[in-house]
């Protein structure tokens, strides 16, 4: 009998018990990441010490988006940057901890060279270079200045210092002279610009906050970048940089006006797709494969479409329809492609089309989508443990410790086993006290998804045995996946986990213990606003914690000195020291 229940009818003791179990099953690591308390304490947006100023590596998608917004979508960036380490559930946070190796620099150089060559080629130069040189076979100071200053401001995310601009113009001129081609020279300078650490890294800078003496705030351009990468997953546009320059971003009215524009922009979709792709750990899909003999329908196209389906569902639900975040776990609305329809066993038409699962279908919510079911399963069979673990870590922001290094898997991996169902298989975990501690907090909810095999196909039997899909989640018991979906919908940590992730993603830092009051404030407002994503984004951006910063301004590492130039132009030197402004 629970001691008392939350407003959602949730067993508070159940949530606490699960939290304690998480904390106790493997020591300090689990304790550190136990979830946020479900009962939010009233909080205010009082000034805090702020979030840490970060030096973040730009991701490939951010780089690609930025160049697409500056030069247009026809400029293709084929390169994939090196992956970063997921930190506190987000790659976006991991970009603050990334280093740059020599091989990565090679990729950056090739990427910059490819992009620059496209910008100045004969097909694009006439509308991407806003001036015409007097002689296309010779340098032209004035035209180079017009182009490089305009582009430099957008890719540096702040105006270029005159000293640096002059250097870029000189580099363009030198190459143009040697190659007898103005545009080739311009391309060489642009290549150097796109390879600059100031472009590849987002360096946040602080300044004294006149409204809160003793506190620091991000300077206007740093705040513009933080806003832009958070909401658009790209660098700031011209209007945002103007707002930064004018000081508008440091007024509540000005920031609110800018935020309105950004939330109404089509770029918001790209930004939120990037966030949910990160939060749902969809980078794992880059390596996801299934046994073709067991799941022939799970093709390479299905892998990509599964990821796309969930992102489309999320964006449609949260942005297009502006609905309650929690309803994502019970909604029957989604989108279907032919490769997915085969797995869902549905008729479809070519391309993507909206689809509503019938009311008596077992498919409801994100947990029953193929991205979750197949993404958290073995190559040849389902996995209640992996699914339960993902539910805890991805959706509830909890950490399930890894199994001990010396764990004995022989019982569950015995090929001659007579075990028929996954329920029987995971029951073996509970016989071993070393395993039971953690499996008790992952398996009960994972078993509710056993009506779906490792590829996400619905089933009622496994090896001839009828599947029992009953389970429980933090004190709530259910008979099947519909019960799990309802339990998750009402779980207090579902919205608070999103708040935690959004805040960390936006600021580039995992929420620290000092920011508990900020999170409480955000949670309270998220609930008061009906759990709408746009409202949450607004609250996060308008909170003092978003623009207040605490630590000294980071600088890019000063050991790198890169020489590049791939097209016969003069080697363009990008020295961190001279590039810093």
């Amino acid at each position: 009998m629970p001691l008392f229940r939350s407003a959602a009818g949730y067993s508070v003791t159940g949530v606490i018990a699960a939290t304690l179990a998480l904390a106790s099953c493997s020591g300090p690591a689990a304790q550190k990441s136990a979830g946020v308390k479900p009962t939010a304490i009233a909080a205010s947006d009082a000034p805090t010490d702020g979030t840490a100023r970060r030096l973040r590596l730009v991701t490939a998608e951010q780089y690609r988006n930025t160049l697409a917004y500056v030069f247009g979508p026809n400029i293709t960036i084929p390169s994939a940057f090196a992956p970063v380490t997921r930190t506190d559930g987000l790659l976006g946070v991991g970009t603050s901890l990334a280093g740059v190796t020599a091989s990565q620099m090679e990729i950056y150089q090739k990427t910059a060279a490819t992009a620059a060559a496209q910008v100045v080629n004969e097909s694009n130069r006439h509308f991407l270079v806003p001036c015409t040189p007097k002689d296309t076979a010779a340098p032209d100071d004035a035209c180079a200045r017009i182009f490089l200053s305009a582009v430099g401001r957008l890719v540096y995310r702040r105006p270029l210092a005159e000293e640096r601009l002059v250097e870029y113009i000189a580099e363009a001129n030198e190459s143009a002279t040697k190659l007898k081609d103005f545009y080739a020279g311009l391309g060489a300078a642009l290549e150097g610009m796109l390879l600059s650490p100031r472009v590849l890294m987002v360096s946040e800078r602080g300044e004294p906050d006149p409204d809160h003496p003793g506190h620091e705030r991000l300077d206007g351009y740093s705040l513009a970048s933080r806003l832009s990468f958070f909401l658009w997953n790209a660098g700031p546009d011209d209007l945002l940089l103007k707002a930064a320059a004018s000081g508008e971003l440091h007024t509540q009215k000005g920031l609110s006006k800018t935020l309105d524009r950004m939330l109404a922009s089509p770029r918001l979709e790209a930004g939120m797709r990037a966030f949910f792709d990160d939060m749902f750990m969809f980078d794992d899909f880059n390596n996801l494969a299934k046994d073709g003999q067991i799941y022939p329908v799970f093709t390479g196209v299905a892998v990509q479409d599964a990821r796309e389906q969930t992102l489309r569902t999320v964006i449609d639900h949260l942005l297009t329809k502006d609905r309650d975040y929690r309803d994502l776990f019970t909604t029957r609305s989604t989108f279907i492609s032919p490769s997915l329809a085969t797995i869902y066993r549905l008729p479809t038409t070519p391309g993507w089309s909206p689809y509503e699962f019938p009311a008596d279908s077992p498919r409801m919510g994100l947990l029953t989508q193929i991205s979750f079911l197949a993404g958290h399963a073995h190559p040849g069979r389902s996995s209640p443990t992996l699914r339960g673990k993902a539910l805890r870590e991805v959706l509830l922001c909890q950490t399930v410790p890894r199994p001990p290094a010396n764990v004995d898997f022989s019982a569950v991996e015995n090929p001659a086993s007579t075990i028929k169902t996954q329920r029987e298989r995971v029951a073996l975990h509970l016989k071993n006290p070393v395993c039971a501690g953690c499996h008790k907090i992952t398996d009960p909810m994972g078993l509710a998804l056993e009506n779906f095999d490792g590829a996400g196909q619905f089933r009622t039997e496994e090896k001839g045995s009828k599947i029992d899909a009953s389970g429980s989640l933090d004190g709530k018991e259910f008979q099947d996946v519909t019960g799990l979906a309802a339990a998750l919908h009402d779980h207090p940590q579902v919205p608070s986990c999103l708040v935690k992730r959004v805040f960390a993603y936006g600021t580039g830092s995992p929420a620290s213990a000092d920011e508990k009051s900020t999170l409480d404030y955000l949670n309270k407002n998220f609930a008061a606003g009906g759990y709408r994503l746009r409202n949450l984004l607004r609250t996060v951006v308008m909170s003092s914690a978003f623009s207040t910063v605490s630590s000294p301004t980071p600088e890019p590492a000063k050991s790198a000195s890169v020489v590049h130039g791939s097209s016969g132009a003069s080697p363009v030197k990008t020295d961190i020291k001279t590039d810093a402004q």
Partner: protein
Amino acid sequence: MKNKMCFLAATALVSGVGTGVGLILGAGTATAAEGTGSFLQNRSIGYVMTSELKAIYDTPDGKMECPNGINDGPREQFKILFPEIPGKKYTLQETQLEREGEIWFPSTSPDKVPYHESQSKIAFGLNLDGKIGANDYTSPEGEKGIDNNLQRAWGCTANYRSNSYNLFAFDNWRKYAYNIVVLELTDVDSLVNDDDVTVTSYRGLDKPMTDATGAKYLPGGTQRLDMRWGKQFISKFKGKIKDGVLTTEGADYIMPSAGNGSSFADIRYYKTQWRLTVMPERAEGLMAGYIDIQDWNSASNQQRSTHHQAYGQSATPSSYRLMMKNADYKDPKSGDDAISMALRVKFTQVFVKHPEGNVAAIDTGTAPNKTAGDRD
């Protein structure tokens, strides 16, 4: 709670609990709602044809049914008709052009080269006329009254015998977009036993889905229907399912038949019946009926040059003569001659996607209302 109860009900249906039919229904042979994972949804299931082979009975050495040996093909016949004789010169008109004329303007006059009928008393097929006649065959399983005079006409032609090159009857034929044959079974309560189901044929618009190797057909794909240009392919068959085998009554049917995008020569089959073992993921068995001989001749020659026919030693002028000799049906509308035959067919399950507002409501009656010539 409502959703939960509906889900449990659907689960019960899929697993057979609600029907009392037993464990076999757990494989999805009972109807279920869309989205439950069953292939049989809303009392309907669709199949797309993946293989079509002329059902010709033969023995490994052929001595029983072809005591005179396997028939010659175009190249061998040409050598016989126009032997190399020292000093003898042939004109183009009396050789190549004359043979081409015979192909396009076939005759029932006596063949100039020997072309033997099969002597087999066994044949695949169905009893199309409901009678057991003197010329009828016995099936390999012992069923009397099998109507398959094409066995007689083609039983000694290499192209249609087992282990032949079988160039023009290979499985890929049905992968070609125009040739997509879709059957939709409706009013189905169970794929095991149901005494009243409706089978409707369509031309599909989508290539059947395969696995990554391209060699294995997979269930679960979707077929859109050609309701604009493909109405002539829609036929309805009344049927029943007993112990997992679907049998239908006869109805006239036109099968889409195109050769690699260059020619479209559909073939009429009269009084067509289906006998298929139907399963959730696939179906296979026989399609039997009377094939229109003119349609077949036209399709063969449009889609397969003499060069290609030579690979299977299939000489259409000779085949035509034997087909006409053994014709056992005349279409009352067109007056065309037809010959009883059977096809071995295989299908893979597909979901049938009807165009919006046009859901399988077309009643074409039992006879095609156009001739092959009209359709071109």
